[in-house]
């Protein structure tokens, strides 16, 4: 039987979503030049997620780096390409990530009370984010 963990955090963008986790402890940017709009593939130089897609995943990362253009790139990913993650968990949500998740309604959450999110969530885990309640349910990959 798979192990389950419950985490608690600060809700940023309210909603409920679940999916497979993709995790990094590094910062990310959603500008089109850093994560492609069409397939959500990370192209940042030397980034641990380089070459991987964040589309339809529950994405865990540190905070938002690089361009302020990320918001409108994210909007295109969400509205036109449907290539955004299903939910986002950050160590500390930057107002850039807050802006684009709140505007699009993609659930987001930060400041996990139990510790750093990547200490509890790994690639392939099944994660349910309830940012109405500020609760994250993690089912570890068996």
């Amino acid at each position: 039987m798979s192990q389950s963990i419950t985490l608690h955090g600060r809700p940023i963008s309210k909603g409920v979503a679940e999916g497979e986790a993709i995790v990094t402890d590094k910062p990310l940017s959603f500008i089109a030049a850093a994560i492609t709009n069409d397939e959500g593939i990370v192209r940042m130089d030397g980034h641990p997620l380089q070459g991987k897609s964040v589309m339809d995943k529950v994405l865990v990362y540190d905070t938002d780096i690089y361009s302020t253009g990320a918001g409108l790139s994210f909007l295109t990913k969400w509205k036109i390409n449907k290539s955004t993650p299903r939910a986002i968990i950050c160590r500390e949500m930057h107002n850039i990530g807050g802006g684009f998740t709140i505007y699009t309604g993609v659930p987001s959450i930060d400041r996990i009370q139990e510790g750093l999110p990547w200490d509890f969530i790994s690639d392939g885990d099944w994660v349910k984010v309830d940012s109405e309640q500020g609760i994250i349910e993690v089912t570890k990959k068996s």
Binding site: I12, I65, G69, L72, K79
Partner: protein, 425 residues
């Protein structure tokens, strides 16, 4: 979050659908980030480039126009994806001119000044001390916070126009004076200071220095001491360009320069914490930064670029002086970036003719970051630059490779086709 009666009226739709839409978003932002209240906005700066915003961004702006949105504060805009003055010099993808033109049309309707510049703080949007900003463009927001004492976060490109339409923004992050306190200390070796900057080296040196500070501070506010006396505007511009490709926030307390940090103690809100995290920067740190910023050792360059952030008129003069009577080598593209207003000035001063005669191109309103670079240069293209910001943002899978150096190194590379670093070796 406490809303004023005027805020509530806007939220209820009394001032039309665009203002209502904006206030709904801003209220959610304020509640999520635990703001106590909203504050008046004084200035706004918007994202313009089609390559970054895509069709979702274009439709967003057009929707705001359809709802009758108007910017309530002085609003400028960032560079676009194309050089409309030099359309024949580049191979733009199909549909780009039409989409970029639609963005300009939307901006005219919203009441945005069509400056297409990443340096509004040096031109048509200069905030005063204590004023509240909603600006995209980290380098500009970094300068405005750190040098002018204006207040603003590295604003999201969705939230910025909505704040401009509402004329209000939630008091979060650097908009709240209580959050403007130093969190780490950066000290610069006096022996290094003597070697920093000067003709042909300002952008390269201070851009690299900004990266060192930003990488160390990351999401903290650094207090930086030991900077050279009487730093020039261009040097501060280069250093503040670290705000986003290195520093997560947009405030560096530059002791003796930042109006809120006349002393180190003042930067820390009165007293330097005993256990403060410190960084010492010396010539060796600079040498390593220059080395790290080149991600190829190839000498042969295809493109040379300078002007990120955009060149001031004095920096364009500097390029002309560095070129002297030399010509750009056949097969090398030497691109210098500035905005349309500075370009007109450069034309009037005869600088454009001199650059053109030498085989260089002074572009308008765009740069490698905004242009559809994947359609122009592949990973085999080697670009020499004196901008850390450009080097960091335009790198990665499928993108060009970079040599980093001073303007002198870059001009020499444009003339000879060979990049040979001369500084910090």
């Amino acid at each position: 979050m406490q809303l004023s009666d005027a805020d509530k009226r806007k939220l209820d739709g009394a001032e039309g659908p665009a203002v209502q839409h904006a206030m709904e978003h801003l209220t959610r932002m304020g509640e999520a980030f635990e703001a106590d209240e909203m504050v008046d906005l004084h200035t706004c700066h918007l994202l313009s480039d089609y390559r970054t915003m895509g069709d979702g961004g274009l439709e967003f702006y057009e929707q705001l126009v359809e709802w009758g949105g108007k910017m309530r504060v002085p609003t400028t805009c960032d560079p676009m994806s194309m050089d409309m003055k030099n359309m024949d010099k580049f191979d733009w993808p199909a549909g780009y001119p039409e989409k970029q033109t639609r963005i300009s049309d939307a901006f005219r309707n919203l009441g945005v000044a069509l400056t297409f510049s990443c340096t509004p703080h040096l031109g048509h949007n200069v905030p005063k001390f204590g004023e509240n900003m909603a600006w995209v463009e980290g380098n500009a927001t970094g300068y405005a916070n750190s040098v002018l004492g204006a207040r603003g976060n590295r604003e999201d490109s969705i939230t910025a126009p909505l704040a401009g339409i509402a004329g209000r923004t939630p008091k979060i992050g650097l908009l709240d004076p209580k959050n403007r306190v130093g969190q780490c200390l950066v000290e610069i070796d006096p022996n290094l200071v003597e070697r920093l900057g000067g003709d042909g080296r300002r952008a390269g040196d201070f851009s690299a220095l900004g990266m060192i500070i930003g990488d160390f501070a990351y999401d903290r506010i650094p207090v930086v001491t030991g900077l050279p006396p009487n730093m020039e505007t261009e040097e501060l511009k280069a250093m503040c360009s670290a705000c986003s490709p290195a520093l997560i926030g947009t405030l560096m307390f530059l002791v003796g320069i930042s109006p809120e940090a006349n002393t180190v103690e003042e930067g820390f809100g009165g007293k330097v914490p005993k256990d403060v995290d410190r960084l010492w920067i010396d010539a060796d740190t600079m040498r390593k930064a220059y080395e790290y910023l080149s991600n190829t050792s190839k000498e042969d360059v295809d493109v040379v670029m300078s002007g990120c952030p955009f060149k001031t008129i004095y920096e364009i003069q500097e390029v002309v002086e560095q070129l002297g009577d030399n010509k750009v080598k056949d097969g090398v593209n030497f691109l210098i970036h500035t905005d349309r207003v500075t370009h007109v000035l450069a034309e009037h001063m005869g600088l454009v003719d001199k650059l053109t005669n030498a085989g260089a191109l002074l572009t308008t309103d765009t740069c490698e970051y905004c242009m559809p670079i994947e359609n122009m240069y592949g990973p085999d293209t080697v670009i020499a630059a004196d901008s850390m910001k450009m080097r960091r943002l335009v790198a990665g899978e499928g993108k060009p490779t970079w040599r980093y150096g001073t303007l002198t190194d870059c001009v020499n590379a444009a003339i000879t086709g060979k990049f040979r670093p001369s500084h910090w070796n």
